[in-house]
């Protein structure tokens, strides 16, 4: 089993959302990011985590600088156990690029990285 995650946008409920290539967010704004766990070995079939064991997902937004790494606990949707959300405050500024997930079910932790899953726009992009 090779897990991955798909970005969900325009999320209203478990029956109302759109799939997206990545989350596109603005820096310095609070953001709630939804994602769905999928199994790449089963043609991206959604993966219901924690059916028999307690599950938790930590979403990490990487950086080369330890001080800029953001690790946030995701919250599972009660009506669809494949869907999770992570809440970022306005002072949490992730970097654009890949996002790392760690799903723990019981004593087993599965980690995976999703390519270019987040795109962060800045107000002044005159230099970088």
């Amino acid at each position: 089993m090779r897990l991955s995650a798909k970005a969900l946008i325009n999320y209203g409920s478990v029956n109302q959302f759109d799939y997206a290539n990545q989350w596109i967010i603005r820096a310095n704004e609070p953001n709630t990011l939804y994602f769905q766990l999928v199994d790449l070995d089963q043609d991206e079939l959604r993966y219901m985590a924690g059916i028999s064991l307690a599950a938790g997902v930590v979403v990490t937004f990487p950086s080369v600088d330890d001080a800029q790494v953001i690790a946030a606990n995701a919250v599972q949707e009660t009506n669809d156990k494949s869907i999770w959300k992570v809440v970022l405050s306005s002072i949490q500024k992730p970097n654009s690029g890949s996002v790392v997930f760690a799903l723990t079910e019981g004593t087993v932790t599965r980690k995976f990285s999703v390519l270019n899953l987040i795109s962060v726009e800045y107000l002044n992009e005159g230099s970088c």
Binding site: V64, S119, V120, S127, C128
Partner: protein, 276 residues
């Protein structure tokens, strides 16, 4: 991951080089290219569908962008995202006398975390105070040690080790060459903001990805020409036959040779000049 508790930088942008402030009127940097941007900027009016039903999905384009980003790094000879490096650099007496003059392998340097004399068994013999390090030429990968404050006795709060370093370096200055002497720990990349890249870099990545995708699609066009008579009783088609994939093979061969050439230049030295 690296620790940036002690870090030295010049305080200006990486792109435009040495930009101290920007108005925000012009967008020069943006997040990594997305599949939507790739389609919008390079594939307007072009079908990404093959005749056999295959098509480039957004996941495929994401993968092509990743390939293109890696190829762009090789073409540019630098890393796009900010990454941490550690190198050991030779000691050369003439360069040492020219305010140390260390050239990093990767450039531009975003920040320098350490400049030290480190022994072969990884013991730090002497770490140069960051106050002595001149950061204004980091954009060129150039690190200089200009201890003006220390030389004129203006350094404040310097420890005994920090001030003793001047004498230490003066002694070592008698050697003409040491193959691995200075150790620098630094970060390099094309942007101060991680995940953001200069717009021309994104355009290069898009060009590389688009060339690869278009080359793949073009190879599946079966016919060079087709004609049909007015009464529709006869028609003829001509195609490349067994040469159908020749163009694609030619493109890939050119690309392979270019990548081999670039990788060789990264992993092997072509020449060496010394003044022992």
């Amino acid at each position: 991951m690296a620790d940036f508790l002690t870090t030295k930088n010049f305080g200006t942008a990486i792109y435009p080089i040495h930009a101290n402030e920007t108005s925000g009127l012009l967008k020069r940097c943006e997040p990594f290219l997305t599949p939507e941007q790739l389609k919008s900027r390079f594939f307007k009016g072009i079908s990404l569908q093959f005749k056999n039903g295959d098509k480039f999905t957004d996941s495929d384009l994401k993968d092509r962008i990743n390939l293109a980003m890696n190829e762009a790094e090789i073409l540019l000879g630098c890393v796009i995202t900010r990454e941490a490096f550690k190198e050991k650099i030779f000691f050369d007496q003439s360069l040492y006398k020219a305010f140390v003059h260390i050239q990093s392998e990767h450039r531009p340097i975003i920040s320098l975390e350490q400049l030290a004399v480190v022994s072969s068994d990884n013991n730090t013999v002497f770490e140069l105070p960051s106050a002595w390090i001149e950061a204004s030429n980091f954009s060129k990968g150039l690190v200089n040690v200009v201890p003006l404050l220390a030389a004129f006795g203006g350094a404040q709060g310097g420890s005994a080790g920090m001030m003793g370093g001047i004498a230490f370096l003066a002694v070592l200055g008698q050697s003409s060459f040491v193959p691995a002497f200075w150790q620098i720990s630094y970060t390099s990349g094309l942007s101060n903001k991680e995940g953001n890249v200069p717009v021309p870099v994104n355009e290069l990545i898009g060009c590389v990805a688009a060339i690869a995708v278009l080359s793949e699609i073009a190879a599946t066009h079966l016919y060079n020409s087709q004609s049909q008579s007015q009464d529709c009783i006869s028609q003829s088609s001509s195609g490349p036959g067994p040469n159908i994939y020749n163009k694609r093979i030619e493109d890939l061969t050119t690309k392979r040779d270019e990548i081999v050439r670039k990788l060789k230049s990264i992993f092997s030295s072509r020449w060496f000049v010394g003044n022992f």
